[in-house]
């Protein structure tokens, strides 16, 4: 009864959850340019599917299913151990699901004389169990014992591994305890053997206690030889056809040997029944949680692999790209391959912003698109992590789920810009990629965040602004000491403002009225920095327009590291800008 109720409940929750997830794929937004209504997204999806079905791309999909879904070549390329880990879990679990959990639908029909208690089936079940446990153990080892730099383990990862382990171990302990259990033996005898004679009962029980590992309340070795012979005959006529020796079940038989000393207590406490409840309830719990946990990747990851194999972001329908990208966030298995290959992952060590790491960024992206509340600090941290990306494409190249991560980062960055969160890193070479992608962004959306940051800088450091009458109170001794203490700017005080730097600067040269366009000339920045006019320096457009071309530094008669110093100044200005505002 409990079994039936919990099964149907789990199925209902699972189906409802899956429907909800899929509805979200067509509903959540990521496109920063166009709004696509869910209905439009759904029709685009159906059209796209049909178009793929009747084209050569169908073959591409078949290839992906074979290579990346069934053989998991992508994981193999990253690591053989992880490939073994994942294949073990996947195929072990699949075997148990099909042949054991669904035995009434599959095994019964597939095998002429199927009994779960026959040797080959005991063996298959125990092999499958061992495979899953091998995989789970390797995963736990990788995530806890082996120190992989910047590999994060989330609660979702723990949940999945723990659920799997509970399902597997409860199953094996159940089988092991049943091997020992005299009550289970009695039930089988009642069901399958017509024993009326108490002598026959003793004979068969002796035989099973001697050969099948059951622990009898009274009978103990050495057994009566005559009883064993009689028992063997009874066994042959009633049991042998559908029950093999439990040693076939090598794993659970092993567990039964461990539990043997307390076999009677276990039996009297009805432990096999308890374990049975634990086992199926754990299974149903996992089933119910499938849409809301990492188990969802069983469906979403193959979808991501297939969709990415046949879609081309240059020509595919934007509505479909949006749907795919929302779905991709659910296809991530948090395996950490992207983070391990990330070209800037290392800087997590100094920024402590987890959204630098692609594997963490994608979860936050999911949170963002789901419309759940994120406060400003969270969004800014995510945007900062998204922008500190060199777009090297490595995360996308290695992702075993085939997620086009780089495209996802691009879209999410622009999506956040649209919401109005410019990042000061916009004024750095990190923007080169954004410039290359400019044709995918409308002119207004492209320019707005840049203008915002430029304005933010101008207004933050506005006190001195363009005025050349600085207030001495603004002089900041901290600036001088900061410059002095950095190896790349330490020799700034050798400058005697000869303005050679200004005369060779290509930025200065390219404006008709450089003073109006740039606020300060390079030599003026040098001078202002030397006397600690922090706001004047940090707010000058020259500082933020510097090309880092080193013409000034090369030409400086005093050998001042001018270009390096400008870098240092921008870093200091950014630190200042990124500080939380001081309480008034």
């Amino acid at each position: 009864m409990l079994f039936q109720i919990s099964l149907y409940l789990a199925l209902a929750v699972c189906a409802g959850g899956l429907a909800l997830k899929m509805a979200n794929w067509f509903q959540y937004r990521l496109d920063f340019e166009q709004a696509h209504a869910p209905a439009r997204r759904t029709t685009a999806f159906v059209k796209g599917c049909l178009a793929t079905m009747f084209s050569k791309r169908l073959l591409t999909m078949v290839k992906v299913v074979v290579l990346d879904v069934l053989l998991q070549v992508r994981i193999y390329r990253i690591s053989r151990v992880r490939w073994i880990m994942h294949l073990s879990v996947m195929y072990g679990f699949l075997a148990l699901l099909l042949l054991h959990a669904l035995e009434g639908y599959i095994s019964d029909h597939l095998f002429a004389d199927y009994y779960s208690t026959r040797g080959p089936f005991l063996l298959i079940r125990n092999l499958a169990f061992s495979m899953v446990m091998l995989g789970v153990s390797l995963a736990v080892f990788r995530r806890s014992v082996k120190s992989v730099p910047r590999l994060m383990t989330s609660r979702a990862d723990q949940f999945m591994l723990i659920t799997l382990a509970i399902v597997m171990l409860s199953g094996m302990l159940l089988e092991g305890s049943k091997i020992l259990s005299f009550s289970s033996y009695q039930e089988m005898v009642a069901d399958y053997a017509a024993l009326d004679d108490p002598e026959d009962e003793t004979a068969l029980a002796s035989y099973w206690a001697a050969n099948f590992g059951i622990v009898h309340p009274d009978l103990k070795a050495p057994f009566d030889a005559a009883a064993l012979t009689a028992g063997a005959e009874l066994h042959d006529s009633y049991c042998a056809a559908c029950h093999s020796r439990p040693q076939w079940a090598f794993a659970s038989y092993g567990f039964s040997r461990l539990m043997k000393p307390i076999a009677r207590i276990l039996d009297q406490a009805a432990v096999p029944t308890i374990l049975w409840h634990v086992h199926y309830l754990a299974c149903f719990f996992g089933l119910a949680m499938l849409p809301f946990s990492k188990f969802l990747h069983i469906f979403s990851t193959p979808l991501s692999l297939m969709a990415n194999a046949v879609m081309d972001d240059e020509i595919s329908d934007r509505a479909n790209i949006e749907t795919r990208q929302i779905m991709e966030a659910d296809a991530c298995t948090h395996c950490g391959a992207c983070t391990q290959h990330c070209a800037v992952g290392i800087i997590y060590e100094v920024t402590a912003n987890a959204s630098i790491l692609p594997s963490e960024k994608i979860a936050l992206t999911r949170l963002l698109t789901s419309g759940q509340h994120m406060n400003e600090a969270q969004i800014r941290a995510l945007q900062s992590g998204l922008y500190l990306c060199t777009n090297c494409h490595r995360c996308t190249d290695v992702c075993p789920a085939g997620i086009n991560l780089q495209q996802l980062w691009f879209k999410t960055r622009e999506y956040i810009f649209r919401k109005g969160f410019p990042d000061t890193a916009l004024l750095s070479p990190l923007s080169y990629y954004r410039g290359l992608m400019a044709r995918h962004i409308s002119k207004n959306a492209y320019e707005r965040p840049l203008e915002c940051v430029k304005k933010q800088i101008a207004s933050t450091f506005a006190h001195s602004g363009q005025s050349h009458d600085p207030n001495p109170k603004q002089m900041d001794a901290g600036l001088r000491s900061a410059l002095k203490s950095s190896a790349r700017s330490a020799n700034f005080s050798a400058c005697f403002t000869c303005s050679t730097c200004t005369s060779v600067c290509p930025v200065v040269k390219s404006f008709a009225d450089p003073q109006a366009a740039l606020d300060l000339m390079p030599h003026q920045i040098m001078h202002a920095a030397a006397i600690g006019l922090r706001d004047m320096v940090f707010g000058s457009r020259m500082l933020w327009t510097c090309l880092d071309c080193y013409q000034c530094q090369e030409a400086c008669p005093q050998g001042v590291h001018i270009a390096d110093l400008f870098c240092e100044l921008r870093v200091l200005a950014r630190n200042f800008l990124n500080q939380p505002p001081m309480a008034a």
């Binding site: 800087i347 060590e349 060199t390 000061t424 290359l436 327009t545 090309l547 870098c567 240092e568 950014r574």
Partner: protein, 292 residues
Amino acid sequence: MPFAIFRCCPTSQFLRYYETSTNAVLSKLDVSIIDVEAFNCCGYPLKSTDKLAYLLASVRNLAVASRKGLDVVTLCNCCFQSLKLANSIMMRDASMRDRISRMLQKEGLVYTEDIRIRHLFEVLLEDIGIDAIKNRLVTTYEDLKIATHYGCHLLRPSPMMQFDDPVAPRRFDDLVELTGAQSISWKSKLDCCGAPAWGVHDALSIRLTRQKINDAKAGGADFLCVACVYCQLQFDRVQQRHMAISPNGASLAPVLYTQLLGLAMGIEPGELGLDQQCMDASGLTAFVKESV
């Protein structure tokens, strides 16, 4: 002794042909290279964003190469300069060095000063030599005028880069001319390509790039030749996709040095990716001397 080849971040998406042409040329010259998976960003884009992040990222590469006992060979001027600068800061600033070393230690990496950071050109000039390269050519160019674009970070700051005379450099020109091409003299030869401003101050970026193209054209160039990922992207992708055709119709395709050299070594244009650029450079084949 193989080199640890340092590919620049944008190459895998935008400049595959820099990878294939380099591999092809170096294999013809019997230079063995190793792609080190553990390398990360050289730090260049972080230089003025977050100093500690820049140094950590940059120096980590040096520690990785040092563990393998390999010299680092860069294909991009910005990587070249960024790694050298980080190395020099590590040598000058003991407290910073301690700080970075402690962070690297977590991964079992150790920074050592002895690592050599080299540009591909240094390998070509110093380890192989002009004459040896010439011996490997199967053909030369005829009537080909090249505007050699050094790129800022190959030369400057010269005390640190030590590549060539920062005012009157010759070494890149020598490499160009060994192929039979003529390296022309042109006005803004040593100036910035405009890439650092792209995405930030686009109008300025285009102004600088336009100036260079006009000057190279005025000097009679058939192609620009570059040795840096960002310069190539700027002259190629940005010129073709983002710059309006100038009033006098001046446009000029860039080629990477590995492409220029590769073609003269008899490597297939397809492998060099002359047709994969945004600015079509397949016209380069027309300058190859007819074999007798």
